[in-house]
């Protein structure tokens, strides 16, 4: 009675939404380079512009502010390296819980600690900003990929702008899961990824406030208004647009996911009171839960769950091959042992109650076995 596997690792990647698959299937067979001036090229350009409009609408931006990239990592790199002040790169100030693509983007990044509840330490940020002689670029994510904790972006923006700094927001994990309005957020740069909310892998975007002089990092044919060279990934971008156009369905699913997640956490805590939940006191993405069973390595738990047909992860997928404990949890004050015992469960818009039950049952069975041993 082998049931089909249960996938609860949606923050790593989530299946494409039917609307995106349909839109892409129609375009994969199309001929045309959007930069060509003949009818094939113009047709491709039209589809590209439509998708740009849909992505702009998703975040309340102007289509001209949207620069398509190969994904979230490239968007983050472009944001952090594409701006300069008097020919010199800006000093980057980032929270210690940022994704590696932000943490490693600029050589001399200054890190702001996290508080125990997973949020950026605002008073530390204020102090750092006050000590900067030159204009800085502050990079803070909208929601953390490992804990789901939503960052106090309005406060970050107020502090940064008051100090004359620009703000980049890594919205990759929040893409399509949190309602966002580029204008209302008042950030200067916003990174998005398609495959985190039902679009295809291999495509993302950097939203660049109009008026900012952003320099391309990949040089060449001058595509994307000279901000990102390379033939546009037309089917990917069309799939991104279709996912964006139907994102309200993903948004509408979030309150139900929060109920499923909260119920799951309550059941685990009831059986195993020693379980530590990360960021549970903070506002979080509705689909994400991060918890540790003290004394039991994450790999051991993952293996048991995988054998039971349940896929979750220990932290972010990029580093899942490595054994180093999560830098996010460590920044929240967790010791190496505890951080190394943490699992991330992330639900998708299509996740059912029965699937969450499978996880809870498999984990509790493992827990009871390990206690008996």
């Amino acid at each position: 009675m082998q049931d089909s596997p249960v996938y609860l690792d949606h923050n790593a990647t989530t299946p494409m939404r039917p609307a995106a698959i349909d839109a892409m299937s129609g375009v994969l067979g199309l001929t045309g380079n959007p930069s060509s001036v003949h009818s094939f090229g113009r047709n491709a350009r039209k589809l590209l512009d439509q998708a740009r409009g849909a992505v702009a609408d998703l975040v309340g931006a102007d289509p001209a502010e949207v620069v398509f990239t190969s994904g979230g990592s490239e968007a983050n790199d472009l944001a952090l390296n594409g701006l300069s002040h008097q020919e010199l790169p800006l000093t980057v100030i980032a929270s210690a819980g940022e994704h590696d693509s932000v943490r490693k983007a600029a050589p001399q990044t200054i890190f702001v600690p996290l508080t125990g509840d997973g949020r950026i330490d605002l008073s530390a940020l204020e102090g750092l900003l006050a000590s900067q002689a030159e204009p800085a670029l502050v990079s803070v994510m909208l929601a953390n990929n490992e804990t789901g904790v939503v960052q106090p972006l309005c406060d970050v923006v107020d502090l940064a702008h008051a100090a004359g700094a620009l703000v980049h927001c890594d919205g990759v994990q929040a893409s399509g899961k949190l309602a966002m309005d580029f204008a209302a957020l008042e950030v200067d740069l916003l990174s998005l990824s398609a495959h985190k909310f039902g679009g295809p892998q291999g495509v993302g975007a950097l939203v660049v406030r109009s008026g900012l002089d952003l320099k391309a990092q990949h040089r060449g044919g001058g595509q994307e208004r000279n901000r990102r060279a390379g033939t546009e990934n037309l089917p990917g971008i069309v799939g991104f647009g279709a996912a964006a156009a139907t994102a309200e369905e993903v948004l509408a699913a979030q309150p139900c996911l929060a109920l499923l997640r909260d119920d799951m956490e309550a059941r685990l805590a009831q059986v195993a009171p020693e379980v530590v939940f990360f960021g549970r006191q903070s506002e979080r993405l509705a689909n994400t839960s991060c918890f540790a069973l003290p004394g039991v390595r994450a790999e051991t738990q993952l293996m048991a769950l995988d054998l039971a047909g349940v896929a979750v992860s220990a932290g972010s997928a990029c580093s899942s091959g490595k054994v180093a404990p999560s830098h996010v949890l460590k920044a929240m004050g967790a010791e190496d042992d505890l951080a190394g015992a943490a699992l991330r469960v992330s639900l998708g818009w299509q996740t059912s109650e029965a699937e969450v039950d499978r996880l809870v049952e498999a984990w509790i069975a493992f827990y009871n076995r390990s206690r008996a041993a």
Binding site: M16, I21, S73, D77, G202, R219, G221, A229, E232
Partner: protein, 402 residues
């Protein structure tokens, strides 16, 4: 439905982009829905299956160029691969060597990367080409020295289709221990490529130029002797630390399949394209005078014909033929009105440069399409020349004929 097909313009711009092969799409479709997964989530079965699919694709790309799987780095396309090769080697070699060499007819993304090196203080030699578009080997020999870190010469030119003597270039570079970077975006899957035989150290490939998907490409990075380079951007440390970011599973699968198909069909497809190209050329020259091929007649990829039509402005010619999709040159720059820098590098008369049309043939071109295209081009050229004659300014035009 059949009528609709006949109404569609004939696509003869295969160097700008190639349509995805239906077999490639078939291979990709399951990965758009059922077979999803993050290839880096190797802690669970779904991620492991995704990883296995990516590794199969990596092997297919490697086979096409006689490389090892682990020497292939997936990128978002050839532009990124070229940027990574050039800036990556330069970043690593900074302080060790300070000279780099590039041919003047390279793709814009290669030249732009070299301009960047120059601004960073590198000594850059821009190598000229002959009037047939072939690299000046003497100039290369002279330019190469112990300080040369990197040499970039493309395999097949995107505008004039000329094939450069890769084996000779590779041997010269190896002698001086300079890394040989070859942009093979237009060549991969079209002509035989062997990174071992040609001693190529870095080679860029594009998915959408070989009937695979847009949004993916690869950089071959030699392991023995090892080529050292720095990544363009950091992050999760994927692709041996050289290229961070989640690998797009379905694009990798489609790209791999496209490479496998291209390799299986390459010899027969080459023969077929050569016949179509000859048919096009003889069809045009039977009806029109004053035609000349730009770039070497023999050392060229059969799917490219760059032809000057004496006395005719190429832009006007393209406008006069909405039934066929051709271009004056690279798509990236096709919106600009400047004359092609590739043709200018051949030192042709300006008139010949202005009258040049790039015709690209490919896997889905048929003899019937070629015959229709010939008729359309002949009619348009005759018409434009007749009009120019009536306006009394054809003097320079007729002289330019060979």
């Amino acid at each position: 439905m059949a009528d609709k097909q006949a109404d569609r313009p004939i696509y003869l711009d295969y160097q700008a982009t190639t349509p995805s092969d239906p077999r490639v799409m078939e291979a990709m479709l399951p990965y758009l829905s059922r077979q999803f997964g993050n290839p880096h989530s190797i802690q669970h079965t779904i991620g492991l299956k995704a990883e296995a699919a990516v590794e199969k694709a990596r092997g297919q790309v490697a086979d096409l160029i006689n490389a090892e799987s682990r020497e292939v780095i997936f990128t978002s396309g050839a532009t990124e691969a070229n940027n990574l090769a050039i800036k990556g080697v330069a970043a690593f070699q900074k302080g060790r060597r300070g000279h780099a060499i590039v041919a003047v007819t390279e793709h814009k993304c290669v030249l732009e990367s070299y301009h960047r090196l120059e601004r960073e203080g590198w000594r850059v030699t821009y190598l000229p080409v002959s009037s047939k578009g072939l690299l000046d080997m003497k100039a290369l020999t002279t330019a190469l020295d112990e300080d040369t870190a990197l040499v970039s010469v493309m395999a097949v030119n995107n505008e004039i289709g000329v094939i450069q003597p890769l084996d000779e270039i590779g041997a010269l570079c190896r002698e001086k221990k300079a890394a040989f970077h070859c942009d093979a975006a237009q060549a991969a899957g079209k002509i035989p490529l062997d990174v071992e035989a040609a001693k190529i150290d870095l080679l860029s490939i594009s998915g959408h130029k070989l009937y695979g998907p847009m949004g993916i490409g690869a950089l071959y990075v030699r392991r023995r002797p090892r080529v050292r380079l720095e990544p363009l951007f950091d992050g999760g440390g994927q692709e041996r630390g050289l290229r961070s970011g989640t690998l797009p599973l379905f694009l990798c699968v489609g790209f791999g399949e496209a490479c496998a198909l291209a390799q299986a069909d390459r010899a027969s497809e080459g023969t077929r394209l050569a016949a179509l190209s000859a048919r096009l050329w003889s069809g045009l020259t039977a009806e029109l005078d004053g035609l000349s091929v730009n770039g070497d007649q023999d050392r060229r990829f059969a799917g490219n014909l760059n032809i000057s039509f004496a006395g005719v402005d190429a832009e006007a010619l393209i406008k006069a033929m909405p039934e066929i999709a051709v271009s004056t040159g690279s798509a990236c720059t096709s919106a600009s009105v400047e004359p092609s820098y590739v043709l200018q590098a051949l030192n042709l008369e300006e008139e010949r440069t202005r009258s040049a049309l790039r015709i690209g043939l490919g896997r889905f071109s048929t003899a019937e399409e070629i015959d229709r295209a010939v008729a359309i081009i002949v009619r348009a050229v005759t018409d434009l020349r007749g009009r120019a004659g009536r306006d009394g300014n054809s003097a320079d035009g007729s002289q330019a004929a060979e």
